[in-house]
Symmetry: C2
Subunit: 431 residues, 2 copies
């Protein structure tokens, strides 16, 4: 093992040996090399005459660049566009995101967690989590309403043992289903749990009450010797349309709860700030007993993974997000967009009140996010999808043989009634 | 194994079973899911009335976005900035890059290779290569002058057996050194070879003559049952300052040479177009016997890896690179920047003619790229580096105990003589 990796492991072990034991082989072996980047950082501070360490081309104190590129930007300096960002992301952006996180998640205040590390959006955060904490054969618990990419990230790439449990029980989240899934895998000391609220594809976010029950249920299992990695995929954070919803990430509650629980929070500007093409996200972690030294050690391992897969993330995206979230109008614009989506959500809810639809479908619980799902009654979802496309020019997603997903995020409020009416009409023809 | 993966494997096996056998476990198991993305693509073509499949938010036929973000861009539509790019990259950009590749590498013309797939720059291309073709324990041959990140990508992450050979023999590339390294690992049927010309850190690119010898030397080993994956890290492509240099990628020669050789070409706009922070690169592959069907199958596996690690690459970066390389001024601006760097190179060469320097160092061969290296004579490189920083404010990189790297790419022509004089003076003080 590389000696830097050994030192990082010692630091983590000293604070919380459970967290060390949760690391994969890659996680244990990983480190951030002290070579060129380290010497370059030293030169940046001290080389006041000539700095011949930099792996870019410089012209007149700016990164060399084409006019044919710079002309596509406004109000950004060449350095904010063309330079490399650090492997862990722009320092100021990381602090800004941390502050935003505390504002949006008041229960995080005073808890000791890492500074957010910049990722190439949430998928990258998930794959870093998988590299660090999911060894071949490790159990990963995911509800049966899930983003399909979890299978590629945790299953195909990391060969995890993925176990699904039914997402809903009645009109709420199936806490007992998760509890049983944990119980039924008695021989697994280590378990990885993925939470994704608001959920893709169902558009369900847990209530405050459900949140409390979930946290306490999982915490109890640690007495029986279980260790957990709790990954919070907070892609749709903030898009909550009902008052009873838990309006902060479960990360707030798990972050410093128990030495046998490591919590990860994955954020993305992708859905939250409507910047799908930007590829900017954040990876934050916390566990009881970890001090700043351990967070730094874990950060170095994460930086090693980032460097060894994509080196670093987009500089123009980071510079712009930095400016966005420190701008005066940020919250105002965010609120405007929220209201637009909220209105669409309300229109879907109102449309679905029509009792004739009960013959054809039952909506799954939904209260948040971009999507909602319908459970079809004796109608094949794929058949419906094809017929809708071919005969009506209406596109929906078949998420299983009997379920369809409707993205109200991409429908104007005016069109929503029409969409559901068309689905109804087409389904009646099939039935 | 997933049934889509099985089908992809059959297609590849039918064309060239060697390529199938070169795949790793991940490579064999990998596929691109047919789920939401597939249905979404169908809806994009057919849903002319309402499309409720899209996982973004839409407002007035454009991706929803903040004014506080759009104001940082010029001459780009919201779709060119905010939309997701496909997992394989923007289609038009891929065709443009292919055309550029053929112009820059005339020997590629008429050869059957994949369309370039967009990556998050070259590191990502390397890590995709590693996921697809480097299993634990596989032998990877890398010269001893190397970019340190290869160790993280192939060693720490993929647990490859990395073997180094001396980069230089006399004033040229050590073809015999590589030949011996291949010979000495007789029991390894499969070998991965990484070529990086112009080389980081040495700034050496092979000559036409060396290129011919290299290709024929490696090709001969296939008669003895060897199979090769040849990864061409073409990060510094085009920055050639001497007439005898081979001015195209070795990929041109390996791409369709032999059924037992799979060649990969990794490009990045990072160094080549001076867009370090953009994170845009290209992954192209070729082998004898592969038809379009196999290239499509391999592309689906690569798309699966991309989707399972970062989902997709920056949209604004891709849109801007697309516009850049199709602009009239692209080649003109590229030539201007090339000349600036060429002048710095010439200044380094002229400076080093001073015979007094022979007492202190011997330069390694260099003729291209951003960097050059000095072999120090009985002076500790780290001691020199520290003293130079602390006493002279000059930053250099110590690449080993007795070697330093100087990045002339980031020095103005005027400062170059001064930099070497200062290093000389400081080294004399130590000696």
């Amino acid at each position: 093992m590389n000696e830097i990796a050994t030192k990082l492991n010692e630091i983590i072990k000293n604070d919380n040996s459970n967290v060390y034991e949760l690391l994969t082989d890659i996680g244990k072996n990983m480190y951030f090399p002290r070579g060129i980047l380290f010497q370059g950082a030293e030169a940046k501070r001290k080389a006041d005459k000539f700095n011949a360490t930099i792996g870019i081309a410089i012209e007149e104190d700016n990164p060399m660049h084409f006019k044919q590129v710079y002309k596509y930007f406004n109000n950004l300096t060449p350095k904010e566009i063309f330079n490399y960002a650090p492997a862990s992301g722009k320092e100021n952006l990381r602090h800004l995101w941390y502050k935003k996180m505390i504002v949006d998640n008041p229960n995080l205040k005073g808890k000791q967690v890492s500074l957010p590390i910049v990722t190439n959006a949430i998928t990258h955060g998930l794959s870093i989590s998988a590299d660090l904490f999911v060894n071949e054969g490790d159990t990963v618990l995911i509800p049966d309403k899930l983003w399909g990419n979890y299978n590629l990230i945790f299953g195909v790439r990391r060969k995890a043992n993925i176990i699904h449990y039914p997402t809903f029980k009645g009109n709420g989240f199936n806490i007992d289903g998760l509890k049983n899934a944990i119980k039924n895998n008695e021989n697994q000391e280590k378990m990885i749990i993925i939470f994704n609220f608001p959920n893709n594809p169902s558009g369900y976010a847990i209530t405050e009450e459900e949140g409390k029950k979930l946290v306490s249920m999982i915490n109890k299992f640690t007495d029986q010797g279980k260790k957990f990695v709790i990954i919070n995929d907070d892609a749709y954070f903030g898009l909550y349309y009902e008052p009873e919803i838990l309006k902060e990430s479960l990360f707030s509650y798990f972050a410093n709860l128990n030495e046998r629980i490591l919590a990860i929070k994955l954020d993305g500007v992708t859905k939250e700030e409507f910047l799908w093409g930007f590829r900017t996200g954040f990876f934050t972690l916390g566990s009881k007993g970890l001090t700043e030294k351990s967070y730094d050690a874990l950060q170095q391992k994460i930086m090693g993974i980032i460097r060894g897969t994509i080196s670093n993330c987009s500089m123009p995206s980071q510079s712009i997000v930095e400016k966005l979230i420190s701008s005066d109008d940020y919250r105002k614009e965010q609120q405007e967009k929220f209201e637009t989506l909220h209105n669409r959500y309300t229109e879907v809810k109102n449309t679905l009140k029509n009792s004739k639809y009960k013959e054809i479908w039952e909506p799954y619980p939904f209260n948040s996010g971009y999507f909602m799902c319908l459970k079809l009654k004796n109608i094949n979802a794929e058949e419906l999808r094809k017929k809708l496309l071919d005969n009506y020019g209406v596109g929906i997603i078949a998420t299983s043989d009997s379920e369809i997903r409707i993205a109200f995020s991409c429908l104007s409020k005016d069109s929503i009634q029409d969409v559901f009416e068309t689905i109804y009409k087409c389904a009646k023809e099939i039935k």
